[in-house]
Subunit: 319 residues, 2 copies
DNA sequence: ACGACCTGTGCACGAACGTGCAGAAAGGAG
DNA sequence: CTCCTTTCTGCACGTTCGTGCACAGGTCGT
């Protein structure tokens, strides 16, 4: 499809630069106006046309500033129609997050990506833009008792790699090992050490937070990663969710949770060596987990919907 | 107007990033949809939202490639509706040129600007974008027997400076001196030498071509810069137009034209030390002058309307 | 205090736009 | 070559958008 890109490019120039109407362009090209509409969509989708909003926002959004002061982060609060479904909320937040991520990518960036419903959605909204020498590395294992997790994370990593033109490095381990012993053993393997080393060099990390409780428990808690016994353990430890499959409590502690010795994602401590840690959160039920993540200092950049942001601030600074 | 920019920013995010309809945004904000439409226009106008078309074009536009091969330049051929008036043609070409100039500006750029109807129009279509440490320097004098030229060039330089946030350096001399002697004298003055030195350091120059003949003679030939005697001289010398008020013939020669010893713009030879020389041309009557400019190697980047491009190629490679 | 003026907003209408659908063209398999 | 599948295109409709106009609220000068 070389011809199409070409037409799309001319059309884009005429439409976006010269501001011709689609009608004028269609007669110029001798095609229907509908086709021009489609060409322009194509141009936008393929990154031939980029629409960028400068983020000078930080300065006046009250809620965002509160978050920034309270946690020492950069925050983007996303307006979502109150009546929206959870799916819509997630979509809106992901779109904004995608655009924020876009501003963080620069040549040579090593991007660490977690997985989950939030990140999946985000990966769908990345607009293509070649980032030379970029590498994408999977942050945490995704295998479970039932599945290897590779198709699932593969979809995420691939679409991100396609958007940025990056190399991909998978992390072929389960989300949790059954035995801490196995993890220690694997962590000595050179194949794994290579991935871990790359993770440590990442300059940007993107992740959501998993919520253990609420009407919509997150993927990892509802898809066979844990058994009955595990759940009991989680409850006893007051775990509210996770960041990169490292479980944590609302107060931000995680180090003493036994199950984390079997988890494969980077701990908040390990994460904190990464310069930009973009956390994407949509949905009120994630508030406790988000609070834990923030207190664990796992986050430098946050994208969150307005409602959740409000609930969060209410918890921190009750009025 | 801080509040307005702020609302405009939120609206822009919702509209361009989250693709909400203006309707949804208006109810969210509690204003009318019309207001949102205006906010978005404001956001675009102030550079809060940027729409960029990647110029991978170079690759398939046949005419553009012909020009590139024939003259060793980078060319952008602008489609303009055949039926368009000259004013529309100029506007369209200027818009594209403005976007090309935008891609050439980077931090620290010293931009040399000529003046004329083309450049005036171009300066109207620059979309604001702060370019740190940039400087704009006027390339050629604009004074005539009647006017100082400062208000006229001032408008151009100011609007460009506003768009890029640059410093401005004027060149307060006439377009042509009456006596070559005066020019030599002035060129020794330190105030003038400072400007000349800056011109010599420019990394980007933008200019049109003036056409001496045709239905629409260019500004410099119709606004009292010359007297009867001058015109006779121009005709005798086969001058077809000018670049930065340096007169030239269709074959690209200029050095032996007496009047040029009184002109204040950089000669093609001086221009050629500037890395990027963006020439903007709209209108068939400028074809001979453009040909002269190209042959004089004054140009590295050309933006031209399709019709003029065709006429030009017909002259060079008759079919 | 009053009117003249200026800025910003909503309304309403016509213009511009996106997209489901159905038919045409292009590409493959037999 | 023919039939089937897939992709592309134009039509038509409903939606979404831009803007002239008129009015409201605010500012300034007299």
């Amino acid at each position: 499809m070389k011809k199409r890109d070409d037409l799309a490019h001319s059309a884009a120039v005429m439409y976006y630069v010269q501001d011709q109407t689609m009608d004028a362009i269609s007669t110029e090209f001798g095609v229907s106006r509908a086709t021009v509409s489609r060409l322009l969509k194509h141009a936008r989708d393929t990154g031939l046309v980029r629409i960028t909003v400068t983020d000078v926002s930080r300065g006046t959004d009250v809620l965002a500033r509160q978050l920034e002061r309270a946690f020492g982060i950069t925050a983007h609060v996303v307006q979502v129609r109150g009546a929206a479904t959870e799916a819509v909320r997630l979509e809106q937040v992901s779109k904004v997050a995608a655009s924020v991520l876009d501003t963080l990518m620069e040549p040579g960036t090593i991007l660490g990506l977690a997985w989950g419903s939030t990140i999946t959605e985000l990966s769908r909204h990345l607009s293509p833009r070649r980032v030379p020498e970029s590498v994408i590395v999977q942050l945490n294992g995704a295998g479970s008792a039932r599945r290897s997790g590779i198709p699932y994370t593969g979809a995420i990593l691939n679409s991100a790699a396609e958007a940025f033109g990056s190399q991909v490095v998978h992390f072929p381990v389960p989300a949790f090992f059954d035995y801490a012993e196995t993890k220690r053993a694997m962590w000595r393997e050179r194949s794994i050490r290579g991935v871990l080393a790359l993770q440590a060099q990442a300059t940007v990390a993107v992740f959501g937070v998993g919520a253990l409780y609420g009407t919509v428990p997150s993927h990892v808690y509802s898809s066979g990663y844990f058994d009955e016994e595990d759940y009991a353990l989680l409850a006893r430890e007051h775990v509210v969710g996770d960041v990169c499959t490292v479980l944590l409590r609302e107060d931000g502690t995680w180090a003493d949770i036994e199950m984390n010795s079997r988890a494969t994602g980077p701990t908040p401590h390990e994460l904190s060596r990464i310069e930009h840690r973009l956390c994407v959160v949509a949905g009120a039920h994630r508030t406790p987990a988000l609070l834990g993540a923030l207190r664990a200092r796992a986050v430098t950049d946050l994208v969150v919907d307005e409602l959740t942001a409000k609930l969060l601030m209410d918890k921190v600074e009750p009025v």
